[in-house]
Assembly symmetry: C2
Homo-oligomer: 451 residues x 2
């Protein structure tokens, strides 16, 4: 009912506030596009820090980088929040080859999935292919035992939003090793979860069943997946691979948090994740979300905005392989008996923003859709029920009635870069990144003013 | 009133046709995204033909390329339409240098504007800078005489749609040489009409007053414009330049046209332009529009669609420097007493399509907006009054009441590539290009079915 009342009051006060809101949002965009820091901050995160896998030296440097940058802007409060994190390392050896039906050897572009065990030296076995995880689940153990399983589930190009295609293929990466291990396979390689046909393998998280046999798991590029698939149609293929990745002891790391005080202590949280995978530079995933989030707070402060509520920007650690940052933050908020009004996440890249997905009730959706006209001229068109984000997900468990938003971003190119060596600063466009920061700032302003 | 009736009938028949339309549009997208030819056709146009300035050998080859490709698809009719075209050539020498206030020489990235006269050997003169064309217009002749004028009007980064920023800066390219020549300048260089700060100069059309003195005109890159501007703040700067471009005699060239017959002979026209500037590969401008247009017709035919009206895809020649293709086509239609229902143009690049600008009455706009819900899931959101396109512009003069549409496309990156050596095939994303072709096909289908 709270939102219904808000919507009604929004309609009645539309004429009076529309002008102010519209003027202020215009100022936000002017600041982002003319005097923005987002692009230079992303450059610094990508080039001065680099790829920053949870537990790595680079991730520790990223925490320092974030704390230092947030302090430089003079926000009301900047602090670190301690979290316990997993620590997995790729190691130095990662190589794969296939021997085709004619005995010719082909080198593969191979990349261990995050969390995989090592191979313990060079291993090799005959390859058995399945079109997807469901097909593997139906296989007889005798068809899989002592072989290397190859899951070749490709993105469905017909899906307009590539996140849908990613979601449909995700099980082969997340659950493939567990299923193949249960059936006695020696190792598993999967087709990279990517929209494009190219030479980059794409890593990402995976899960083992700790009570069962674990097997090494790696991604191969979509071009190598096509190569392997074609040779398998012609006869027997043997795959040799070596990876010396390993899981180490848990470590301590930090979420990095900045706040602007409001007239009350009710909290609006937003953020992205500071960690990335260890290849490329984590530019789109999620350097963009980090600089969107920092820039949104900087813009509001630079415009002299006086918040109604406590505005809190969180640079979450460990989204990629554990989400300890998100879950620790949510529990901490609840244990501090904080009241939370809303949360926003940016974790879909630095491309053109298109709107916001709303995770909440129909009344909450209608409330957000009330801002549609104000944002149309800034080419934000999309305000639908949808997903918010991994980092702010656990907040929903502690505050089931809160409003959550995920910034929607043109998804067409995202999975060409995601979790691969291609995800570098140069793949991000300055104006698109700045528009993302402005969209975040505008939505934070609107929520803060009208919630 | 015709459109009012259409809108009313559209509302009443919405339930019955929505299902059919929705199913057919889904098929269009499936064909474009799974079995599309747009990307391979763009590759061929960019790599097998290359940049194709009106009058060049490459433009002649592009006509053959287009005719051959359209014939290969077995459309009802493929033919060439003769036009008389201007013929300007860049020549082989193009170079510029500045000598700064300390006597140090800097090489400039310089590119003659299309239609410029040559310099007749190396020329040099002191540089005088103006912030934009209006400032130059107010200058005293004594401040300009025998100098090289530098117009340094930069894109207004605050403008959300970059086409607006381009439009605001356009006068310095289109009219700068005329104004500077009138004031006695020796030559003119302009800051490239570009969103980004980089080393590529961007060419484009310009106009002389044939009754007055003509002076050479060139663009310099935005980085060189900043360099020159900074040195001018420190003291006197001399610019040396040579260009041997020239205007030749008019030639004959062709629009390339393909048709599918309908139940009647009323025409729906769409297209892009086959010519490009002579740098880069004309990939976004307007190779993308050409392959969007061809692919739209191919998709409709491949799905067995039986048109209501005559569907005509036109690959226009000479959009960039004369628009003889567009104006000849419009006159030809009128002289043949054809009835024209609508025209659509794609000439805003191969990036993500966002909707359609409507050039027409409010009733025509409402009619097109009636398709909004059908296109929402395909992420086409924008249906506003706006501009259609240069090629189909002259049709409006012959058929002032016709409906015209311009496909709107994410404009954020367009002017990083436009008219420069950066506009190559590799700058176009496969999925975004395919979505553009599908959007064109869907709109042609909707117009054909409901007009």
């Amino acid at each position: 009912m709270k939102y219904l009342t808000l919507i009604i009051s929004l309609i009645f006060t539309q004429i009076s506030f529309a002008q102010n809101d519209s003027t202020f949002i215009r100022k936000i965009y002017d600041e982002a596009l003319e005097k923005g820091h987002a692009y230079q901050n992303l450059h610094s995160l990508c080039k001065d820090v680099g790829a920053r896998l949870t537990g790595s030296a680079e991730a520790d440097m990223a925490v320092k980088w974030g704390e230092k940058l947030l302090n430089s802007y003079g926000f009301d409060k900047v602090y670190l929040q301690e979290i316990s994190i997993p620590h997995w390392e790729r190691g130095t050896t990662e190589a794969g080859w296939i021997e085709d039906a004619n005995g010719k050897v082909h080198k593969l572009n191979i990349l261990a999935l995050g969390g995989s065990i090592h191979t313990d030296g060079l291993i090799n076995a005959e390859v058995v292919v399945f079109e997807n995880l469901d097909a593997l689940k139906k296989a007889a153990p005798s068809a899989v035992k002592d072989k290397i399983v190859f899951l070749n589930d490709a993105f469905d190009q017909k899906m307009i939003q590539t996140f849908q295609a990613y979601g449909a293929c995700y099980p082969q990466r997340g659950e493939g090793a567990k299923e193949a291990g249960n059936l006695g396979a020696k190792a598993i390689v999967i087709r990279s979860l990517a929209s494009s046909t190219d030479q980059h393998p794409h890593t990402g998280s995976m899960h083992y069943d700790d009570t069962k046999k674990k097997i090494p798991a790696a991604a191969i590029s979509t071009m190598d997946a096509d190569l392997l698939s074609n040779w398998l149609k012609k006869g027997k293929v043997t795959l040799s691979m070596e990876m010396d990745c390993k899981l180490l002891l848990n470590k301590t790391s930090y979420n990095v948090i900045a706040e602007m005080n409001g007239k009350d202590d009710q909290v609006i949280t937003w953020g992205g994740h500071l960690d990335s995978w260890d290849v490329g530079e984590g530019a789109h995933d999620d350097g963009a979300g980090i600089v969107h989030s920092i820039e949104a707070l900087r813009i509001l402060k630079s415009l002299g905005y006086k918040p109604q509520h406590k505005l809190r920007c969180v640079l979450f650690m460990n989204e990629e392989n554990g989400n300890m940052g998100g879950s620790t933050y949510a529990k901490w908020c609840k244990s501090n008996k904080e009241i939370h009004l809303a949360a926003i996440e940016s974790d879909r890249g630095g491309f053109l923003p298109t709107g916001f997905d709303v995770r909440g009730s129909n009344e909450q959706l209608a409330f957000v859709q009330g801002f549609k006209d104000l944002l149309y001229d800034f080419e934000l068109f999309k305000f639908d029920q949808g997903y918010s984000g991994v980092d702010i997900g656990p907040l929903m468990e502690e505050y089931p009635e809160m409003l959550q938003l995920g910034m929607t971003i043109n998804s067409q190119l995202y999975f060409n870069y995601h979790h691969s060596e291609a995800d570098v600063f140069e793949a991000v466009n300055k104006r698109e990144l700045e528009l993302g920061a402005a969209a975040m700032a505008a939505m934070i302003y609107l929520l803060d003013s009208h919630l």
